[in-house]
């Protein structure tokens, strides 16, 4: 055979062999199909989109090479590069002791097993605690952005811990129980709630930081903290009622006191005033009588005999007419005999 010119014109080449392939019908079609398939796979696996609330962890042959933000990105196709998206802005929630049903509408809290919510307090009593933990895939606050993409929160979320949710739940339960276990039942039920929330959040953050799992606890919220059964709750309520009763009894007594004492004071003032009135009256009466007597005395001194007689007769004038019975007896008589009976006789007064 004569050597040919190796004139490799690609267009000619393809056209020529395409013609040959199509002429080869079945075999050619298979190859064509395969080629098309391969190209398609290649095309589809060469890009990926990241939603607005997420980041994507890009791995080449399994090794983290980059973390990308929202949008359209390209990567090496055929599975050499893989991109896993992680929602980083979404706030995730874990609930304990209860479950929210139909979160879109009004939450209907359904009681979960008592096991999750019952725990021992420091005084070895039992209470029920329902709480929720909110977290995000994020690095702890104040930490600088890492240089190695494998250290980002999204990457750590994917690679550090196998069961992320379970781990968070286990840690949360353990921490909550430790914190409650260091408090009296009354404290946990009433005034220490805010402190408990704070402590649990802080401790959970510490623990999870040690695992470096790319989780940041944003909030710990106590939903309900209460005594375990209806009967115990009733007993706790009874204490509140008793406290109120105590206050009521004391207040009633106080108002009795506030009523009775001022009343007594009023009465006392009245008594004293009356005495003072008597005093004034008596002294004034005495002074009045005394001065009347003295005036009379002055006149009397001037004509004693006449004044005496006048006074005497004036008295008689007054007394005699009003007398019931008047008996005049002879001084010589020993036994009283009615000689002059003024009674029944019309008096001189009547005849005037």
């Amino acid at each position: 055979m004569a050597p040919k010119d190796f004139d490799f014109d690609i267009g000619e080449f393809i056209r020529h062999h395409l013609a040959r392939l199509t002429r080869r019908a079945r075999g050619g079609l298979i190859v064509l199909a395969v080629v098309v398939l391969v190209l398609l796979i290649g095309a589809l696996s060469s890009y990926y989109t990241v939603p607005a609330d997420s980041q994507a962890v890009v791995k080449r042959f399994g090794e983290v090479v980059a973390v990308t933000g929202p949008g359209l990105h390209f990567k090496i196709p055929f599975g050499i590069d893989t991109a896993e998206t992680v929602a980083v802005t979404r706030v995730r929630k874990e609930e304990f002791g209860y479950r929210t049903v139909q979160a879109q509408r009004k939450s209907q809290f359904q009681q979960q097993q008592d096991d999750e919510s019952q725990m021992l307090t420091g005084d070895l009593n039992v209470i029920e605690v329902e709480w929720a933990v909110q977290y995000r895939v994020a690095r702890p606050e104040g930490q600088a952005n890492p240089t190695d993409p494998a250290d980002t929160a999204a990457a750590r979320w994917l690679h550090a811990v196998r069961n992320q949710q379970d781990t968070i739940r286990d840690i949360s339960e353990a921490v909550m129980r430790r914190v409650i276990g260091n408090r009296l039942a009354v404290e946990a039920l009433t005034r220490e709630r805010a402190k408990v929330q704070q402590q649990v959040k802080a401790e959970m953050r510490r623990v999870l930081e040690d695992y470096e799992m790319g989780v940041y606890i944003t909030a710990v919220n106590l939903q309900q903290v209460r005594p375990p059964t209806r009967e115990v709750r009733a007993a706790y309520n009874e204490v509140n009622e008793a406290q109120q009763q105590r206050e009521q009894l004391i207040n009633e007594a106080k108002s009795y006191r506030n009523e009775v004492v001022p009343q007594a004071r009023g009465k006392a003032a009245q008594i004293v005033a009356q005495a003072k009135g008597y005093q004034a009256e008596r002294v004034n009466a005495a002074k009045g009588e005394a001065s009347r007597f003295e005036a009379l005395l002055t006149e009397y001194r001037q004509a004693e005999s006449i004044t005496r007689r006048r006074m005497y007769l004036e008295m008689i004038d007054q007394v005699m007419p009003t007398l019931g019975k008047l008996y005049v007896m002879d001084s010589n008589q020993a036994t009283p005999l009615p000689l002059l009976n003024l009674d029944g006789v019309p008096s001189l007064k009547d005849n005037r």
Partner: protein, 343 residues
């Protein structure tokens, strides 16, 4: 041209396939979550030199290996969870409790792990044994208070009052915590970790997830809580009654005191008034006691004698003197002025 092109194409095709195959056989990919142990004929490589660093691969990415001869055993590099089943145990002071522990572990040394346990299933079972035993031993020798409370357990005086208990329990509440929950749990962990290290496993933490009374005991505890609350309620009510009574009694006492003081003052004033009046009277009447007697007696006659009175007068009475004699002798014995003037 055609045939040589065909051959070339075939050659390219085959070459590509061989390349890919070779690539696939001579490499392995390790995910970030994985680590691997490379063995040759069942034994980890590098044994001759007693250097097994070659056998352990932890770095993610693409790695090369000899095809067919070398095998790759993959293990999880991540933090793994162990969740113990709820177990009933007895504490040092014979309290029956149910305890649920949880732990986190990691295959730190995959080679040792491969040699000793081989797979995760066996590891879980080994963890069950070691950890359950450790927990049980620790719990059996610890008081419940030490398990539940942590260091820094302090109870305020006023809170103690809130919690009315029989004598002994009050002490229990005040009891300082010797070890505390954290340290206790940490001790358990470190003890168990020593054992597990032999398997290439690092025990990262061991925690008490749940601790409760056993069901039968639970009921008694609830009853105890109820009666405790009832005692406190009674105490409050008692206090209320007592204090109310005290306030009322004090109020009554104060009232009597006020009234008594007032009466006393009233009497004093009245007494003083009487004294003053008497003084005034005496001062005045004392100037002419006879005249006073006279005047006062006349007043008395006026007041005393009336419709109901029966009066007996003697004819000698001075009132009737003019009935006896028109010119009677004067009181002082001298003749009457008219008689005197007639002489």
């Amino acid at each position: 041209m055609q045939r040589s092109m065909q051959v070339k194409l075939a050659a390219i095709g085959i070459g590509l396939v061989v390349l890919l195959l070779g690539f696939w056989l001579c490499t392995f990919r390790l995910n970030e979550t994985e680590q691997a142990v490379i063995t040759a004929f069942g034994k980890p490589i590098g044994e001759k030199a007693n250097d097994h660093r070659e056998a352990i691969v932890k770095q993610a990415g693409l790695h090369f290996k000899l095809p067919f001869i070398r095998e790759v055993h993959r293990f999880d590099k991540r933090v793994l969870a162990w969740d113990g089943t709820s177990q009933d145990m007895v504490t040092a002071e014979q309290k029956n409790i149910t305890i649920d522990t949880t732990a986190r572990w990691r295959i730190e040394d995959p080679l040792t792990f491969y040699r000793s346990l081989g797979n995760e299933e066996r590891a879980q079972s080994r963890l069950d044994d070691v950890l359950h035993e450790q927990v049980q031993t620790t719990i059996a020798s610890t008081d419940l208070t030490e398990i539940v409370r942590s260091k820094g357990w302090e109870i305020e005086e006023e809170d103690l009052k809130q919690v009315v208990r029989p004598e002994g329990k009050g002490k229990q509440l005040e009891q300082q915590v010797q070890t505390g929950r954290k340290e206790l749990v940490e001790n358990m962990r470190s003890e168990a970790a020593k054992t597990l290290q032999d398997f290439g496993v690092t025990l990262l933490d061991l925690r008490i997830k749940r601790i409760n009374y056993v069901d039968q005991v639970q009921q008694r505890v609830f009853e105890r809580m109820i009666s405790e609350r009832q005692r406190i309620a009674t105490k409050f009510r008692q206090e209320g009654k007592e204090q109310a009574q005290r306030i009322r009694a004090e109020a009554d006492r104060e009232v009597s005191e006020i009234k008594a003081d007032a009466r006393r003052e009233s009497e004093v004033i009245r007494g003083e008034a009487d004294a003053k009046a008497t003084k005034v009277y005496n001062a005045a009447y004392g100037k002419a006691p006879d005249f006073y007697a006279f005047m006062r007696t006349l007043e008395s006659y006026q007041k005393a004698l009336g419709k109901e009175s029966v009066l007996m007068l003697s004819t000698d009475s001075d009132y009737f003197r003019y009935l006896r004699d028109v010119e009677p002798k004067q009181d002082d014995g001298t003749a009457s002025p008219s008689a005197a003037s007639n002489e």
